[in-house]
């Protein structure tokens, strides 16, 4: 059983090949870390798995459904309804409060504002953010903002969470707290997680690590 799968994915940016036949699969509820040197193609692979980029060749499947052949609108709906995202720099909407940021995926999915905020609020207690609900992103520390981003990524109970260097902008201890919360929350919800990191100590939180090198997934590191 596979939740997410890439089969022989090839993608070039102009003349520059980024992925040269990358294959990887992730089981439902599994947390997989994609590692690799700079420029190896690890973030590109994540973006293909998440339906952000469309490969030149190969296939991407999510929950048994092929997604690389969907059009932009269909992929956009898929990302909104089925996926959560956490990026290196929280990328919170600065005009919104923390709780509005967390509620954002629900609001975009058509949930009424009151209901969306009600669903967002428990995340503040859960992630050690109680009392910060009304703050804007400029009034949060890096670690707090990243926990808000994590709550936003998980609030709609997505089938998959994609995290690109989620601790990359945090100090070591704060990064560990974020990873611990990510793992606990994802497991509670049964969310499949694909995580890109260059940091082996972050990758060690995952169930499994794969290495991307020269646009391919290193088969030796698969379990």
């Amino acid at each position: 059983m596979k939740a997410i799968e890439a089969r022989d994915v090839v993608l070039s940016f102009g003349e520059t090949p980024a992925l040269r036949g990358a294959s990887v699969s992730v089981a439902p509820g599994e947390i997989v870390a994609i590692m690799g040197p700079s420029g190896s193609g690890k973030s590109t692979l994540l973006h293909c798995l998440a339906g952000i980029l469309v490969p030149n060749a190969g296939e991407i499947h999510f929950d048994g459904r092929r997604i690389d052949t969907l059009d932009e609108n269909q992929r956009s709906a898929l990302r909104r309804d089925c996926f959560g995202f956490v990026f290196q720099f929280g990328q919170l909407v600065p005009e919104l409060t923390a709780e509005e940021n967390v509620a954002l995926p629900l609001l975009l999915g058509g949930v009424k504002r009151t209901a969306a905020l009600k669903q967002a609020r428990p995340w503040f207690e859960r992630l050690g953010l109680a009392g910060l609900e009304r703050r804007r992103s400029g009034e949060l520390s890096g670690g707090q903002a990243q926990r808000v981003a994590l709550a936003r990524g998980l609030v709609a109970r997505p089938g998959a969470l994609f995290a690109d260097e989620p601790t990359g902008a945090l100090d070591s201890l704060t990064g560990e707290q974020v990873m611990d919360l990510l793992v606990v929350s994802a497991r509670e919800q049964g969310t499949t997680v694909v995580l890109v990191t260059h940091d082996a100590r972050v990758a060690a939180y995952a169930d499994r690590q794969v290495i991307v090198r020269d646009g391919k997934v290193n088969a030796l590191v698969r379990s």
Partner: protein
């Protein structure tokens, strides 16, 4: 680090005299601590006793140091197993990892594959230590941190070495 296995590896490259083995060992692996002649010959004696090398061509008229040593099938199997098996992932492995990489390159073996296998072993150990951190008390956390930081340093070394394998291969093969 294993002197017997390193000498076996050097002998797999080509049959050799004790003096040449010591010179190559000191050149690549001793890191400022030359291998005493006594240790070279006692190690070779044990390897011969265990059937991992044989002695040939005692050249007439010259002393015992002109004995030539040749690796046996059993010895070659030991080298193969040693190179292929990842080292138990614990801190401060640089000497043994370095020796394995240099010998693998000397012998034309897939050093990158060995490093990949080692990386996997390191990552598995890091997973175990992380789990200890997530469930343990502060003392456990701090001890696990010590291991994690050292293993992380090894991983950085592994990654950098992979990037330098071509250049290193030219150096060790002359």
């Amino acid at each position: 680090m294993s002197v017997p296995l390193t000498l076996l590896g050097l002998l797999e490259r080509e049959p050799s005299h004790g003096y040449d083995l010591k010179r190559d060992y000191d050149n690549f692996f001793s890191r400022g601590k030359p291998l005493p002649f006594g240790q070279v010959y006692s190690t070779l004696g044990r390897l011969a006793r265990d059937g991992k090398i044989v002695m040939t061509e005692v050249e007439p008229g010259v002393g015992p140091e002109r004995k030539r040593y040749v690796i046996t099938e059993r010895g070659a199997t030991d080298v193969e197993s040693w190179l292929t098996e990842p080292v138990r992932a614990e801190p401060n492995l640089q000497t043994v990892l370095f020796t394995k990489v240099v010998l693998a390159l000397m012998l034309g073996r897939p050093a990158e594959e060995y490093l990949d296998i080692q990386r996997t072993a390191h990552l598995r150990r890091m997973q175990e230590l992380t789990e200890i951190k997530r469930s343990g008390n502060l003392v456990d956390v701090m001890l696990a941190d010590h291991g994690l930081f050292h293993l992380e340093a090894d991983l950085h070394w592994i990654d950098t070495t992979v990037a330098r394998l071509d250049a290193l291969g030219k150096v060790v093969r002359g």
